[in-house]
Amino acid sequence: MRVPTSERVFAYVILIVMAMLVIAPVLAGSITAFKPQIIWVSSPPTWVFEPTLENFEFVFFTRKGWVYLRNSLIISIGSVAVALLLGVPAAYAFARFRFRSSKALMQWLISLRMIPPIVVGLPFYAMFLYLERGLGIGLRDTFPGLIITYQTFLLPLVIWMMRGYFAELPAAMEESAMVEGYTRLGALWRVVLPVVFPGIVATAILNFIFAWNEFFLALILAGNRTSTLPMTAGTYIVRTRVEWGNLFAVNMIIMAPVIVLTIILRRQLVKGLTFGILE
């Protein structure tokens, strides 16, 4: 389709304005992360200065940022692994078998994504307390605790996205393998999963970003032992002042993997995002 030049210009103006709106604060903040403390909040802002890594050194080593980075990685990767392990087979079942209320279940799953985290966070906290006091199962401030809680939000996304990928494949693909000497699980493993592998990657990344960015549930359910990077960002906003340079240094550490992953895999991400939802 040919788009008239005037419309094209109009579209670009809107896109540029929107991109500016998103990028400008990130850019301003990122610049601050490289400023020496003395000019964090100089007025008017200093634009020419000698960049320094002292903020990064401070948050990463002095304030143990590496520990929180490690916690965030454990929780995010762990959550995604569990969500894929449970969600991929579930998605396959939803795509291939019709069972009682399978449709209603799918809708219920997507509705889970619409719940605000606070509605989930407090009951989880209460449950963890009961488990701890009643059965001696400690989940507060543990990695498994957060990983389990995150499934509320990750599993529906995994199931919806992966079901879209599975549903696109002809059932004859597994059926062929089944007639040729394999069980259904064997066919799934040897034939179907290799085909949907790019979809699994896209799903994993999207879920990783969610878990990585998650703040609120971590704030309620994590503690000293399991603090994540987004939680520590808050610690640079203290009663008397905001440590802008340190705060933005943490922010950059948080953003970096997300930006890198998105750039490397943006094509799969777009495909993954529009899958299933457009059915």
Partner: protein, 368 residues
């Protein structure tokens, strides 16, 4: 191997009508049997039950006296070729053909020998290193055939394997499937909705409709002696001319057939079947190939005018409006008429079909 279906029933949850309604069928060892019928007639469901991809609600399936009804697909020693799937996309041609052999843990050297042997049989030995993106639709379907053959199954099942191919390729592959059948001597069960494909391929044609078997017979039996109006109408292109009519006793002891706008005298071969039918409604049919253009008026003739001409190549299909009915007539291209030309049609008694309008059964009680 001989395949036996006994009282096979399959219902799907979303329909109150049985997809396969208590069918019984024998397919002899080495036969190429074609399940023919319109979409939704139960032919594919029947095939899938033989493959084990659907579980029948009741009934038994045996292959060579071995009851396979409750076996998993992988244990049935059958192979299947599908309509909308031909190659595993993450494997090249070679690995596709080798795939079924890995399931039986065959030794590497033996796999290699078998793959090359089978690939040569279906003329894809030069494609073995190609990926799925580098083969055409016809070649991909050959890969599917090779994959089916590689385990030397007792029965080949083919679910409309040619439907997604273009016309020329379809005819070519059809001939190759026929040749494969002759070379291997294995039992083939082939599903199609294309009656021409069924006629050219089949040793035996099983016509199905609404989950029931309508007729089983050799291609000529089904074409020339349809047991009911459905088979008569479904088999043959262009399809049979059919009209509703009423049977009347003639003074001389014969029967006449009153059709809309004209009447015909019915030949003696119908007399037995019509004994109790006088005054009853029937369906009369005659194939477009069986109608003759004649110059002189006579018994069983109607005159009319050409309304439409379709060129089929060496022959034309002309549509003639006569007695307010439209008749399709096949004529040699040299004898064809122009639109608007007057003509006279003769219906030869020996080529007529009559069906009871109540149950659509043929009134020529041929072979039952």
């Amino acid at each position: 191997m001989k395949v036996l279906l006994q009282n096979l029933v399959k219902r799907f949850a979303d329909s109150d009508r049985a997809a396969v309604n208590n069918i019984n069928l024998v397919i002899e060892a080495g036969e190429l049997a074609v399940l023919l019928g319109p979409s939704g007639c139960g032919k594919t469901t029947t095939l899938r039950m033989i493959a084990g991809l659907e579980q029948p609600d009741s009934g038994r399936i045996t292959i060579a006296e071995r009851d396979i009804t409750d076996l998993a697909p992988k244990d049935r020693r059958v192979a299947m070729v599908f309509q909308n799937f031909s190659m595993y996309p993450t494997m090249n041609v070679y690995d596709n053909i080798a795939f079924p052999l890995h399931a039986v843990k065959m030794k590497r050297g033996e796999i290699d020998r078998t793959v090359r042997e089978v690939a040569a049989l279906v003329n894809i030995d030069h494609l073995l290193e190609r990926s799925v993106r580098q083969v055409s639709g016809g070649e991909a379907q050959r890969v599917a055939l090779a994959r089916a053959m590689v385990r030397r199954p007792e029965v080949f099942l083919m679910d409309e394997p040619l439907s997604n191919l273009d016309a020329k390729l379809r005819v070519q592959l059809r001939a190759e499937i026929k040749r494969l059948h002759q070379d291997t001597g294995t039992t083939f069960i082939f599903v199609t909705h294309d009656q021409e494909e069924a006629m050219t391929l089949g040793d035996k044609i099983i016509v199905m409709n609404n989950g029931d078997i309508q007729q089983v017979g050799r291609p000529h039996e089904v074409f020339f002696g349809p047991r009911n109006a459905f088979v008569a109408n479904f088999v043959g292109t262009p399809s049979m001319n059919m009209l509703p009519g009423v049977v009347r006793n003639e003074n001389g002891g014969g029967y006449r057939l009153q059709l809309p706008g004209f009447d015909l005298s019915l030949p003696a071969r119908f007399h037995d079947g019509l004994a109790a039918m006088a005054g009853n409604r029937v369906i009369w049919g005659i194939r477009p190939e069986a109608i003759r253009l004649v110059a002189e008026p006579g018994e069983n003739c109607v005159s009319g005018e050409v309304e439409l001409v379709e060129a089929l190549g060496s022959r034309d299909l002309i549509f003639v409006r006569a007695a307010e009915q439209l008749f399709g007539v096949i004529v040699d291209a040299q004898e064809s008429l122009a639109v608007g030309a007057p003509c006279r049609l003769h219906f030869a008694g020996g080529q007529m079909h009559l069906f009871d309008a109540e149950n659509e059964r043929s009134l020529l009680s041929l072979t039952k």
